[in-house]
């Protein structure tokens, strides 16, 4: 407990009786000093790795900076005007939103199911939990490289399985000359060529995002489920509510705030993701999987137009700010609850 002056009461009294306590310890015992001191690493981290790059990005976006010449000469909104006129940028913006929101809709449905399964008692539960968490613990670049090989144009094991099941290949059960109506899969070919067709490539990116963010959402929901008071569940049971009624009218409403946290985390991760698209498709085929992060990189770093790259990247900001505000509100609400 602290006094109005910010000093902790109990230790101060105790230490005042001990003449051998060094002076420094009194200083460290002051909440007014200790608090900021402990916050300092986080503040330095945020300023160094978030604040300064953000300010630089804003400055660059209003300048004509290039990789070779990073001096900041004011050009107003010229970069923003130029980037929005570019068809690839518009595609990247659309894809960024599509990948983030569609993947998180799928994730929240699957995470609920998984969390329900994992909250039940069964043999091998620990192993299943471990396996579910595995995608989250694997370094993202390595994981995506694994997916890249799985979706290879020639040696894809997924294709091999489909050939074994006679879905594709010379002995397909479908018309060998036909193509799947939605995803353009050539039934008669030996390979699907997942990363060479726009719709399939988008599906591949979405799948990897879901695979990647599902474990975190599941763990968050699992924690939320265990926090539901037992007496609430018992009351619903005694009242004779069926499983589905309990789920829809009791558990899900109670889980809603924690679900929002899971979704927000997922959106932030997928919205800002660079690695999945860069490793899997490099934005292709024909820019159909390009997202803001990769397009900013190709334009700003590979193409050397630092100013335009910064302008493209800044389009991520509104969504991220909105997500941050919602998260902070949720956190405050849970504090006051």
């Amino acid at each position: 407990m602290s006094t109005a002056t910010g000093r902790s009461e109990t230790p101060a009294i105790a230490w005042s009786e001990d003449a051998d306590v060094p002076e420094g310890r009194y200083l460290l015992d002051r909440a007014g000093l200790l608090g900021p001191l402990m916050l300092l690493p986080a503040i330095i981290y945020i300023i160094g790795l978030v604040g300064i790059p953000l300010v630089l990005a804003v400055l660059y976006s209003f300048s004509n900076a290039t990789v070779g010449d990073q001096s900041i000469n004011w050009v107003g909104l010229e970069n923003f005007r130029t980037v929005v006129q570019n068809a690839t940028f518009r595609m990247a913006l659309k894809n960024t939103i599509l990948f983030a929101f569609v993947s998180q809709i799928i994730v929240i449905i699957l995470a609920n199911i998984l969390a329900l399964v994992l909250s039940a008692e069964f043999r091998g539960k620990r192993l299943v939990r471990f396996l579910v968490m595995l995608p989250w613990t694997t370094p993202i670049a390595l994981a995506v490289l694994g997916w890249f090989w799985m979706l290879d144009n020639v040696a894809s094991p997924i294709d091999a399985l489909m050939r074994m099941l006679h879905i594709i290949g010379p002995d397909t059960i479908f018309d060998p000359k036909a193509r799947a109506p939605i995803l353009d899969i050539p039934f008669g070919d030996r390979n699907v060529r997942w990363l060479s067709k726009p719709d399939l490539a988008r599906l591949a990116v979405l799948t990897v995002h879901v695979w990647r963010t599902l474990p975190l959402a599941t763990v968050i929901l699992l924690a939320g489920m265990t926090a539901i008071p037992q007496d609430v569940k018992d009351a619903a049971e005694i009242d004779g509510a069926s499983y589905w009624r309990q789920l829809i009218y009791v558990r899900l409403p109670l889980l809603a705030p924690i679900m929002a946290v899971a979704v927000l985390y997922g959106i932030v991760f997928t919205f800002t993701d660079f690695t999945v698209v860069y490793v899997l498709t490099r934005g292709g085929p024909v820019d159909s999987t390009q997202v803001l992060a990769t397009w900013a990189y190709f334009k700003g770093i590979q193409g050397s137009s630092l100013a335009q790259g910064a302008a493209i990247a800044l389009f991520l900001l509104p969504i991220l700010v909105a997500a941050a505000i919602v998260m902070l509100r949720l956190a405050r609400r849970s504090e006051t609850a």
Binding site: D69, Q70, V154, S196, D287, Y297, F298, Q302, G303, S304
Partner: protein
């Protein structure tokens, strides 16, 4: 094997010591001896003793080159009391790494990429003195190498091009023989005709990429040149929107429809190599590195791989050109701590380019042709490949590569705008949109023109490119 360099008397102690060192470096004794001899003979023109040299360069497509290079650089460092470190990274990551170091204002003293990075000119030292010195020692530098590293607008050498890798066509002889072309295609029309026949009758596709990677960029350029099209003119004005470019795009669309599968839209730089080595491509555009890999990984496939010169298109033989598949360009950043040491090392490398060429299994062609007469001579290395080609004269089609290899952005120089166009996949996308039927060739070219014009205007405002002259 170069017997002249092997015949030297050595003491037993020298032999044992040399053998151990060579073994440790993964080199043959003769190579190790040549490296040591070259290092001892190096005569820096300035005092570089006690300095350091940190080199960042791409991982060579022929790994034997890197093994040789690392030992070569180390030996030179030891002989001249210079602490040398060499970092090799994937070529696709080189521009971003250099960009990060420029931004940080520190990093390597010497950086190398396999394409012109004219965009970085303002952060790089002018190497005019170095090029002059190399030319004084070895004669005239190849024009394509000069144009890939010199900016006529600022009159500066922003890079030092020491060599390049030719970019011929690679074809499977058995497939083309069966299609009635025993020597492979020599024109774009033959490519379409033969490729179509091979796809229909033998079920093997062709592999010319239309993706966000370096080989697709070069393929698009080569095709455009053959059709009389170009991105810019001699004076750096954008001239891409022409009937010739539209014809080239139409041709690529037809080539795709008749001879290829849609996997060419999702390729990376290694994909066409892999397809060829797996025996599933009738024709690709690539350097000899894919063949060298196949010689070790798939000897049966390698024995069936042959080469063609750039294909002749409607614009005639003089425009049957190729960009260097890789153009080796060193740059010294402004932040380099020891620029003189970097310059001395470059001169040492150029002085010994015969070894660079040989150890890279003739992937590297010299920017100064006088450096390796053995490569081009009658009965020389390309006539009689010492690295196991069957027949031994398989590499003869690249013997005159100096005549048909040109710079990025030809007929203009490899400027900053062309560099950006090359690094953002505007040309492959232009081809792909039409091939996929998303746009007509004319619409696709118009979109590319719009994107390219914006880039040129921006770099012109930066003062790095010319343009506007008649």
């Amino acid at each position: 094997m170069r017997k002249d360099l092997l015949r030297r008397s050595v003491s037993r102690r020298t032999f044992v010591r040399g053998s151990s060192a060579a073994l440790a470096a993964g080199l043959s004794l003769s190579t190790w001896e040549r490296i040591q001899a070259a290092a001892q003979q190096s005569t820096p023109t300035t005092n570089i003793r006690g300095t350091k040299l940190r080199i960042l360069q791409w991982s060579h497509f022929v790994p034997a080159y890197d093994t040789w290079f690392d030992a070569f650089a180390k030996a030179w460092g030891e002989a001249n009391d210079v602490e040398v470190t060499v970092d090799h990274i994937n070529t696709a990551d080189v521009p971003a790494t250099i960009a990060a170091e420029i931004s940080a204002g520190e990093g390597h003293d010497l950086v190398e990429h396999i394409a012109s990075l004219a965009q970085y000119e303002k952060s790089m030292l002018d190497l005019t003195d170095l090029v002059q010195e190399a030319s004084a020692r070895h004669g005239e530098q190849l024009a394509m190498c000069r144009n890939n590293s010199f900016n006529p607008t600022t009159n500066r050498f922003y890079g030092f091009c020491h060599g390049y890798a030719p970019d011929p066509g690679n074809f499977r002889k058995a497939l083309w023989e069966a299609a009635g072309y025993p020597n492979g295609p020599s024109t774009w029309d033959e490519l379409l005709e033969g490729g179509t026949k091979i796809r229909q009758e033998q079920g093997v596709q062709m592999g010319i990429g239309m993706s966000n990677e370096i080989d697709s960029q070069m393929a698009a350029q080569t095709l455009m040149w053959a059709f009389g099209a170009q991105v810019q003119d001699e004076n750096e004005n954008v001239v891409i929107n022409s009937p010739e470019t539209i014809a080239a795009v139409e041709f690529m669309a037809q080539l795709y429809q008749n001879c290829m599968t849609d996997e060419v839209f999702g390729w990376n730089a290694a994909s066409n190599n892999q397809l060829l080595i797996q025996g599933q491509a009738s024709y690709i555009l690539n350097s000899i590195s894919a063949y060298r890999t196949a010689q070790e990984a798939q000897p049966d496939v390698a024995s069936d791989i042959y080469f063609t010169r750039p294909l002749v298109g409607p614009a005639g033989p003089e425009r049957a050109l190729a960009h260097g598949h890789a153009v080796f360009i060193y740059q010294i950043p402004n932040h380099a701590e020891y620029p003189d040491t970097a310059k001395e090392f470059i001169l040492h490398l150029v002085d010994n380019y015969k070894d660079a060429c040989y150890e890279g299994k003739f992937y590297n062609f010299p920017a100064w042709p006088s450096l390796t007469p053995e490569l081009f001579a009658e009965g020389g290395w390309l006539d009689n490949d010492p690295f196991g080609s069957e027949p031994a004269d398989k590499l003869v089609p690249i013997k005159d590569a100096n005549d048909w290899t040109t710079n990025l952005g030809w007929p203009g120089p490899a400027n900053a705008a062309i560099g950006e166009v090359f690094n953002v996949p505007i040309l492959p996308n232009m081809m792909a949109r039409a091939a996929r039927g998303e746009q007509t060739p004319a619409e696709s070219v118009a979109q590319a023109e719009q994107e390219i014009k914006e880039i040129f205007e921006r770099w012109k405002a930066e003062g790095l490119i010319g343009g506007g002259q008649a």
